[in-house]
């Protein structure tokens, strides 16, 4: 009775949380939850290490508008639920397997990262570092704050305090955890007969574990026998809290063993039947013509009655997989998961199968993390070269930077192949692309000049932006696009051009830092009009001006095609316009001679600030037709960046001016 016994409390908590009579149920949850959470003092990974998750990770699922491997689903859902990346000792896919096949055990895993200390205090949870809590722990804390919970689920988000928002977000994470955990509940071997008479009467065996699908044939019989039992006076209390309280315990004193079994099983069937709300796990491909690319969740298939022989075979394989998991049978697990994968591949076009494998390796290899490390290596080699003036370090920096660009380009190319669209459609993707363009311009400069400035630009822009990018990724890094952006022509023209313009601006800005620093320290060539690096910076800003101007005009033309006006003074349009106007201003002033090299370089640092404001700041305003980026938590970082850059520009300007006057 391990499975159902352990799972019973979990299921009770989950159903209550899922909003099915949530607020009626919450006060009764305390004791049951406490009982479960009492044993959750340590993280338990219940599976033997010999389990191979590769085939499971490669199984397809339709989620957020596209078909992806379970590896991607597991990663994004883990991030959504835990609020952080998967733990090293617990891969996302093994966490998902446990959540699907052994939800009761999974409810004891400390995966909920609660960053708000005030929320931890409100929930009455023990302070912990790191602040990770198990589903069972959090669920048991909810009854005490049922009124606050009711408020956060009914009041619009804008009217909530930061603490309430954190509570609301945590509640959504709990719901998601519960929904995923019930995805396969119809095939989990959670039902067992204890009464021999009853089992024999219904054609089952005592001591064997049955799934909901198997026991469903006895449902009517059990229901008809349970109905008169429920009407006995001593059972009234149990009826009142039917879906939440531990009914079996309440009946214990009065009924016979068979009666208790009837009530327990009929109630368990009812509870499991309510799992049909779980629709997130769409793992069954379209079965019939007219399905319109819609995949089915196992519960959706069961409820709609749209199953086919192929889908029946798949569900049976999932059932066998669940039993292999529960039994800890690694060999059977591997065989069944491979068989399941083959069965699904038969129903999919080969191109999709190839893309699934591609995405699996993309997730495993993390190309952008890898290229960020290579850029960092290039930077480290350049710094090392300052001390140890050895030629090999210079070449190491070159090799690392080129390798970084190659891996970076490969990562973007993979995304284009997987998503079948140009590489920039979200804020996260724009960071990846701008980083590549900045790095490429750095390499061009490195090819023209061998003083390390080009490689420094590549290393700095590449590594910083790629390390920053995940903060803007949200839970899903390979997402589908909203309708207005869903246009490959304009994504490939306007968005890429303007993003390339951002990249070029940043390269010029970083180069200006280097040039000013060199002037301020009085090193290298004397600062002046004919300084080759200053000329190269002027060249870069001309290219940046071309790209941003062309990109802005293309954006206007897209707006004219899409919304009927070329220019609407929307914040994003204004941001792009500001960059262009600033570049025009700088270039005119520089070419006319009213700005010297030092002032021009400081102007390029200001350009960095304007680019950052246009790129990220616009989303913070949350207005206009373009505000579709991810913004939370970015304001402080942006303000810090702007202030630091301004201070840096001011100090370097002062020092560089002194150096120039000394030279004069």
């Amino acid at each position: 009775m391990r499975a159902w016994g352990a799972g019973r409390h979990y299921l009770v908590q989950g159903l209550a949380i899922a909003g099915l009579g949530c607020f009626v149920a919450l006060p009764t949850l305390g004791s049951a939850a406490a009982e479960t959470s009492g044993s959750s003092t340590a993280v338990r990974v219940s599976l033997p290490e010999s389990f191979s998750y590769r085939d499971l990770a490669l199984l397809p699922i339709q989620h957020q508008g596209r078909v992806k491997p379970l590896e991607s689903f597991a990663n994004s859902q883990f991030r959504s639920i835990s609020g952080e990346r998967p733990l090293h000792r617990l891969s996302a896919i093994s966490w998902l397997a446990e959540l699907l096949f052994d939800p009761a055990q999974a409810s004891l895993q400390r995966v909920f990262h609660i960053a708000t200390q005030e929320l931890v205090d409100t929930l009455g949870l023990e302070p912990r570092h790191p602040p990770r809590y198990a589903f069972a722990e959090v669920a048991s804390a909810l009854p005490a704050i049922s009124e606050q919970l009711q408020r956060v689920t009914t009041v619009p988000s804008a009217q909530l305090s930061p603490l309430e928002k954190a509570l609301s977000e945590l509640y959504q994470r709990l719901l998601l955890h519960f929904e995923i955990s019930r995805s396969l509940s119809m095939v989990l071997p959670d039902f067992r007969f204890e009464s021999a008479t009853l089992a024999e009467e219904l054609g089952f065996e005592v001591g064997s574990d049955y799934s909901y699908m198997q026991i469903l044939r006895a449902r009517h019989h059990l229901e008809s026998r349970a109905a008169p039992l429920r009407e006995r006076p001593e059972h009234e209390r149990a009826d009142a809290a039917e879906m939440t309280a531990d009914t079996v315990t309440t009946l214990g004193e009065h009924g016979s063993g068979e009666e208790r079994d009837i009530l327990r099983l009929s109630q368990a069937i009812q509870r499991t039947g309510m799992d049909a709300f779980s629709q997130i796990f769409r793992i069954v491909p379209p079965q019939w013509e007219g399905d319109q690319q819609q995949w089915y969740s196992p519960w959706g298939l069961l409820k709609s009655g749209l199953g086919s022989p192929a889908s029946a075979r798949q569900v049976k394989l999932w059932s066998r997989l669940a039993r292999a998991y529960r039994a800890g049978d690694a060999k059977a697990w591997s065989e069944i998961s491979a068989e399941l994968r083959t069965a699904l591949q038969e129903q999919m076009p080969s191109a999709l199968t190839e893309r699934l494998e591609g995405e699996y390796y993309y997730q495993k290899l993390s190309p952008f993390l890898l290229s960020a490390l290579l850029y960092l290596l290039a930077g480290a080699a350049l710094i090392g070269r300052i001390r140890i003036r050895h030629q090999s370090l210079y070449w190491l920096a070159w090799i690392a930077a080129v390798a970084g660009v190659i891996v970076h380009t490969g990562g973007l190319a993979t995304r284009i192949w997987l998503l079948e669209r140009p590489p920039v459609g979200t804020l996260y993707e724009s960071i990846l692309f701008v980083a590549l363009i900045g790095a490429l311009f750095g390499l061009v400069l490195a090819f023209l000049r061998d003083d390390g400035v080009g490689l420094s630009i590549t290393s700095l822009i590449g590594s910083l932006l790629l390390l920053l990018a995940p903060s803007f990724a949200g839970d899903e890094t390979l997402g589908v696009l909203v309708a207005v952006l869903n246009n490959n022509f304009w994504l490939a023209t306007h968005v890429l051009t303007i993003s390339a313009g951002y990249g070029c601006c940043l390269a010029a800005g970083v180069g200006a830092h280097y040039w000013l620093l060199r002037c301020a320290l009085g090193r290298g060539a004397a600062p002046g009009v004919d300084d080759p690096l200053a000329r190269a910076l002027l060249g870069l800003s001309l290219v940046a001006c071309f790209l941003t101007l062309f990109g802005t005009i293309l954006g206007g033309i897209w707006a004219d095609q899409s919304w009927g006006r070329f220019w609407g003074w929307d914040p994003k349009e204004n941001g792009a316009l500001l960059i262009t106007l600033w570049l025009i201003y700088l270039l005119h002033a520089r070419i006319a001679g009213s700005l010297n090299s030092v002032a021009f370089a400081v102007g390029l640092i200001v350009l960095n600030i304007i680019v950052a404001l246009a790129w990220f700041g616009v989303n913070l305003l949350s207005i206009g037709l373009h505000s579709y980026g991810f913004t939370d938590g970015a304001a402080l970082g942006l303000a810090l960046f702007c202030v630091t850059e301004m201070l840096f520009g001011l100090v370097l300007y002062t020092l560089a001016c002194r150096a120039v006057s000394r030279e004069a």
């Binding site: 957020q64 508008g65 101007l549 033309i557 500001l578 106007l581 009213s594």
Partner: protein, 392 residues
Amino acid sequence: MLGGPRLFSYTLFWMMVLVFFGTLAQRELGLYQARENYLHSWWLWGGTIPLPGGLLTMSLIGISLIARMAQRKYWRWRSAGTLLLHGAALLLLFGGLLTLIFAQEGNLVLREGETSALIHAHEDLEFVVIEEDVQDIVDSERVPEGMVAERVTAFAEGWLQAGAQLSSPIDFPFRIDLWSAARNCVVKARLESAEVAAAETTVAEGIPRRGAARNLSLESMPLARELADNSACALFHLQGADAELDGLYASYEFMVDPPTVYVGDRSYRFEIRRRQDRLPFQVELLDFVREFHPSTTIARGYSSTVRIIDGSLSFERTISMNRPLRYRGYTLYQASFIEDDDGEASSTVLAAVRNAGRIFPYLSGVLMCLGLLWHLGGRLPPLFARQRRGHQ
């Protein structure tokens, strides 16, 4: 001086300041009001100091560019790129001016199966006098069977000033003096707003209040952030019709029962509303489709299949995101949709735009890029000259 770099630099810098603060102001004021205050204005006030607004600044940039181009020394092949760039920038500014003056835009809202040519403007208001049952003055053959003819006299937004006398070539049997009008109002029961009621009573002493104006006061409000959330209102004095009809009347946008007076055998209805125009052709919505990414509520696309009926000419087209329909100078875009109570989207909102300056950004864009490429072609090679000195 006009063609010199100073004027250009200063105006360009000031333009950046306007764009920056105009963008920030959008958070407080909303896009429309911030745009009107900072960018579509000749002047704006920085405390008590008048400052050049967007229109003046852009005009000065334009003058500076013209003066620059008028200098004969720049008409050389070497400066061809710069000349092209400056000319293209002028074209862009000129197109913007044409758009500002002549562009018409509004929404055409259609349910599936409905045919209409009526466009509701986004911004512009009008005050209309609608004469009902005017069969005697229209060609009866033009009135479809079962329909009633109305004559609409519209006073454009320029008329909506306090103290304006609304006169038209049509000889109304009364005179309309506008007492007050505002783009955004809140309607209150007079008892609740004693202060406003008292002020109105003082001004309008001896003039009887009629209809809804008896019980309601219209309080002018700052503009809402979203243009659509504003509700315009007008308080007007009708006189010369009949002693029992003369008096103050109130009308506001979306009023369920606008003020109506009966003079002789005619009725006259008074409304303040968003300007309404008619397309020179009819549009029938055959089907509206909202597509989602599979298994999500993320919209993948919207499209409206319409039939254009222009006299005896009739044809079908599908308008979707980024794929507008252009016909007879108008462009129809898929702008939005309206959901029914059951969550089904069966009404489409098409944006209808007519813009005389539409071609200019396209022309200017091409010329600008050519000019910049020309300029870069000559400038870049020496700037990116290779310089190596050994890596030690």
